[in-house]
Amino acid sequence: MAASFTPLDRDGMAARAASDIPEGWVVNLGIGIPTEVANFIPADREVIIHAENGVIGAGPAPAPDAINPFLVNAGTQPITLRTGGSYVHHADSFAIARGGHLDLTILGAFEVSETGDLANWARAAHEPVKQIGGAMDLAIGAKRLWVIMEHTTKEGAPRLRRRCTYPLTAKGTMKRVYTNLAVLDVTPSGFLVRDIIPGLSFEELQARTDALLSR
């Protein structure tokens, strides 16, 4: 029988994660789909978005005729500042990330493991050209780290693994992963499935996952 499910698209994953962020949290959103989470937080829910380049209280993108070239986010895209927001220098910005002042960090990933390891900066351990940026600092120190990613590679290889095959960004810090197929928590006994998209069975989800799932 043909599969009768529709994986979430980028917006769907971002919206699903946004629905779990309560008012009052201080949140860092990584580059890519995590950045889009901000678009799905209702305007009347006060969530404080931190950007690594020193923004506390990042707001939505400005109108094209209202771009301020001095005000960008971690992806160097033009943004606005919410009323009540402020700016800090780079050392303070990473003190916020490292020092336990973020309620949540959301990052993208190549792979995650059942023990909460995150691999999101390189596909080979000793690539000469390294693109680390702020990922290693952001992946530690927050009260919780969530990941948003496709459940498998384009070729269908699982990305939720017993052990990561790519070099680690941080070890054991990831608490939850939102994929295009499911939401899973990392527990002491591995991945616990919280939510599966309609039409996909637990067994079908397991077949697309390297790590052993529980429910």
Binding site: G54, N68, A91, R98, P128, Q131
Partner: protein, 219 residues
């Protein structure tokens, strides 16, 4: 009378030597002291160690300094593979030390703050820790890191007075305040000049005691 204003870019960079470590702020195109960087290219110093967040996009002043072969070593948090820096690195013509961005900022801060070394959990469980001193502190592995002082820091400010008190706009601040504190010679380009006392004391972001020279570069 203290007056740190200089008349020309050449005067701003006078005395910068070959082999100098240059602290260069900026995140994307924001907070980059482009006029001073152009002046550094003009000045001709070679064999530099350049500390900045990234290897820069093609066409940027950073990329130009790199492709002119003036930089011996780049200390940064990332290099784009498809950029001048990435191609120089792949060709073995540029030494690069890649440092996590928060560690980069803290090493610069430590240099200005007189902290001779510190431990951080960032990267302690990664390939960056290979061959390095890792110590278990309160149950977590931590990596020993050393400060990153500069011989010269090039700073991009919004306002400056003759004492060198500075303000920055929005995310222009980024690495500027910590780099201004971490170098033997701190040179500023500023968009606006103001009278001494015009910046409310509570709003001074970099006090002038960290600044040696100021060049007015109207925007």
């Amino acid at each position: 009378m203290i007056d740190k204003f200089v008349r020309s870019a050449a005067a701003a960079l006078e005395g910068v030597r070959d082999g100098a470590t240059v602290l260069l702020p900026g995140f994307g195109d924001v907070g980059v002291p482009t006029a001073l960087l152009e002046a550094l290219i003009e000045h001709g110093a070679r064999d530099l160690v350049l500390v900045c967040n990234s290897g820069g996009r093609d066409g940027s002043a950073v990329a130009r300094l790199l492709s002119l072969g003036r930089v011996r070593k780049l200390v940064c948090s990332f290099v784009r593979p498809a950029s001048d820096a990435g191609r120089l690195l792949t060709a073995g013509r540029l030494e690069v030390e890649v440092v996590p961005q928060g560690t980069l900022a803290e090493r610069i801060r430590a240099a200005g703050a007189g902290i001779p070394a510190f431990y951080t959990p960032t990267a302690a469980d990664t390939v960056l820790a290979e061959g390095r001193e890792v110590r278990n502190i309160n149950g977590a592995p931590c990596l020993l890191e050393y400060p990153l002082p500069g011989d010269v820091a090039l700073i991009d400010a919004w306002q400056a007075d003759r004492w060198g008190n500075l303000t920055y706009r929005e995310t222009q601040r980024n690495f500027n305040p910590i780099m201004a504190m971490a170098a033997q010679l701190t040179v500023v380009q500023t968009r606006h000049t103001v009278e001494l006392g015009a910046i409310p004391p509570e709003h001074v972001m970099t006090p002038g005691i960290f600044v040696n020279r100021v060049l007015h570069v109207p925007g």
